[in-house]
Symmetry: D2
Subunit: 296 residues, 4 copies
């Protein structure tokens, strides 16, 4: 069954996700502030709208996955004025990683207009978006979740219902805490290992098999060996997430001592000018602090 | 081909490992300070020696996996006086997690007596030892490694040659840094999640599938839900390891800010009286700090 | 020369400050949400207003020193609606410890109405307010600072011009970072000292004379010995400040690793239920973590 | 009354202290591994010995203030073989900052030979040593302390009896924790202040007067403004102390989260190559991490 979907904002994530929606036969109308970025999707069958209002006018489901809270605020309540364009009966799915308070603000505004809303942020980056292999965590009404699930499943390896509104974004921040912890752990481990004269490839071989292994060690580890910091998920966005996690932990008054230490490292790495590189680039700051000399 | 093996010190780890050596048909002579602990292994076919000297007199390979540096010092150079009992041509395999300096001290003493030596500490605890599913990281001469490998493979899922003497224990400490980081991350994540009103089971469901998943989250997470802190690897040993990691990072002068924060949490947890519980019990301190009320 | 001053909000700080303004012969009109708290000041010669508008109608200088950003927002833009009550030519002096962004928001709103504004937060608490011994750090126009200085000097031991608007609150947060660091240092030092068997009184004797001494060690140290955690500055306000410092460091993207660690300790201490006690109560959490048994 | 004093090891500290002993009329015999460094003291009236044994042969009191535990071990039990040279009735005063375990080891060895011993480490560096303005914290027998006090008072502004053997070095490590915390706090504060556009001189002016002021902020702050990192107390020695503090906190199992974070910063600063500069140079690492551009 074809659904009319408006997808707003076409970046790394949007490009992948819309591709999969089109592949499944859905009618996708795309809009992006910089219109040229829509071209590859139009080639694949998307229709391009020249305004937010035009994009959503006829949509059953409206989706977006933006860079941060400010971008969402701007799209919904600011320049984009999406809140004026939506109408009763439509469904909005916000896939952005934002603070749960922003989620609740959106949900309340949409509810006033009779629009149903899910927060459905995603784990995974460029490759997972392209392959339909994201992991999606969802907050909102259970019945709405069930209704939208067939679409989310086109994008994801697994989809998880976490509870009412803002439980998706809450889960996302909790998960991102784990991601940052693992990158920090990998960075500290590799700095020590290198300075101890271990072969980084051998170390990654061990991290590949033990019961504390994680796919992230394989991916980031390989890139580290190759000194490949090309961007799948930008370090500046990881800093944004670290700041969101810190704010969420503040709201909940939960001490997170190791994650707090990690945030300071990420800050420092961005100050070295690596914000546009891949998130894994923050390991370079740990190397520098350790006085590790990297040959490659 | 049957090898004559002396296995010294029968604790949680020894019990499992000797069982697998016997199953493979090797002739194992066991010794333990408290002799009664050898009984179950004698039933399975081990021979019990009443002294270290008697245990190793006839052995081709001598193995031990003790609790810490002090225990190794005591066995080799102290009360156990293993160093006087060994003779040229024998092979010693120390599987204890110790500081690389202690490893080097052992290796040098054995070398003087013509004894060949491997440091071969293991990842995994009670269950992996019993199932022959440990992960072993080895330092020493490559040729000796190749010679001993068939025995190590009886105990392990994978065995890894890391380089010359003390590279095994170096890798072990680097790996344990990652283990501690994973537990800390899980603890911080679960405290936040619980206080944010997420269902812990759902959170673990997400951590089970994403690309930052790890088997350790499944195991420890399930125990956390069950409030099961029965000991596979005691928290007091994790503190010992955290202290070893800190010392190793000091020797190498490598800053490890998040791991340093984690060590302080583990210290605090031991001060709460949980040293004899499982290592995962340190998460209880994170819960307490967060003001999380656990129902079960 | 008598100045007509409106002082809004009468807490621990206001009580002390208004006392000193009255002593100097100024005409002070006071207002507080809970009117009864004004009584002791009325006895000393203050006039009580029954609304914010009434309090400021005739004032040359309007002052307030509230608990946090929310209280300022509420007084100026919310329920208090001070912004509607002020008129061109009046001077507003906000002595609250708030985020510089809130300062700038206030300043801009006042400027639109022709009202001149200084941010002038204060170091010191109950005793210093009562004794006219505060240390005041001021942002705003230099000429306005010079004009208001005679009044500020009634309240302070020293007054410091830091630069344009929000430089006062910026300095205040920087200073509070140092305060929190010193309490943390004292707490860590005393926990170690006690567990090492040193006499806490002797330790404080040393901290009283060296070149790293600080008056704060004397005051808090004595209270610690006496187990006196009666409130001069509430721990919950110190947590508020720690959170403000963290946010300011985030805005500036400055890594503050030790202060970040300290914030997590303060969070934990508040979760133990000590938020209404004196700020020094957070040292109790360090004691507990250390397993220090305090006799008194 | 003239005392025959042997002073072993002439560095920054020894030069100052011996000067004050001579000024008071004591007979001081000096020895240093590199003999030339004794020359300025010989000019002032010291006698130079060409061996440790010769230096102490006739001494009533033997003093030393070395760089670290290894140097003490070497002097007493190693190359220096002081332990063989001392004889019953002599008094040894070790003023080095070392781990309490090393203190206890010395004390036990001296006791066996009938030599009385005080641990008497000092706060203060180059200038305080020269001016007789050190702060000395002493462990050992009270009666011996009273006996030696007149000599210690020549060197110190205040002298403090802390309790039995090793209580002096215990206090010293506790105090050094506070010193490191103060420098870290100053560094974090100045990095934030600078990036917030505050004038560093103004900030130091505030830190000079409040109740959280400290002489160390004046001294280090002024040097920071001048970008003067000439050595009074080398950063590499501060790292040594940070490592000693960490080890002492480990022995006592006391969590010191902020100090743990600070140690990692000091490590990183030494890896930048600043180990021979003054301890305050570690603030440069905080500046770099913050992306602060320092003009001077």
């Amino acid at each position: 069954m074809t659904t009319k979907i408006a997808y707003l904002g076409i970046g790394i994530m949007g490009r992948g996700m819309v591709g999969n929606l089109l592949k499944a036969g859905h009618a996708v109308m795309v809009w992006n502030r910089t219109p040229e970025r829509c071209a590859p999707l139009v080639e694949k069958g998307a229709t391009q709208a020249d305004s937010v209002a035009a994009a959503v006018a006829d949509a059953e489901v409206i989706m977006y996955c933006l860079s941060d809270d400010a971008a969402v605020e701007d799209l919904v309540f600011g320049d984009g004025d999406l809140i004026s364009a939506v109408k009763a009966g439509q469904i909005v799915v916000d896939m952005t990683t934002i603070h749960p308070d922003t989620t609740r603000k959106e949900a309340a505004a949409y509810a006033e207009k009779g629009v149903r809303f899910l927060d459905a942020p995603v784990f995974g980056s460029k490759n997972e978006a392209a392959n339909g292999g994201l992991w999606i965590v969802v907050g909102g009404e259970r019945a709405l979740y069930d209704e939208v699930l067939p679409i989310l499943e086109l994008l994801s390896e697994t989809t998880h219902y976490m509870g009412e509104t803002a439980k998706g974004t809450s889960m996302k921040l909790v998960g991102n805490l784990v991601v940052a912890s693992q990158l920090e752990a990998l960075g500290e481990a590799m700095a020590m290992a290198t300075k101890a004269g271990l072969d980084p490839v051998d170390v990654l071989g061990v991290l590949h098999v033990t019961d504390f292994k994680s796919p992230i060690f394989d991916g980031v580890g390989a890139a580290l060996i190759e000194r490949d910091f090309s961007t799948h998920f930008a370090l500046k966005l990881m800093l944004k997430d670290a700041n969101l996690i810190a704010r969420f932990a503040q709201d909940l008054n939960v001490p997170i001592p190791a994650s707090a230490a990690t945030r300071e490292v990420i800050k420092a790495a961005v100050n070295q000018g690596w914000g546009e590189e891949n998130a894994s680039a923050f390991i370079k700051h740990l190397e520098n602090q350790a006085g590790v000399i990297v040959k490659k």
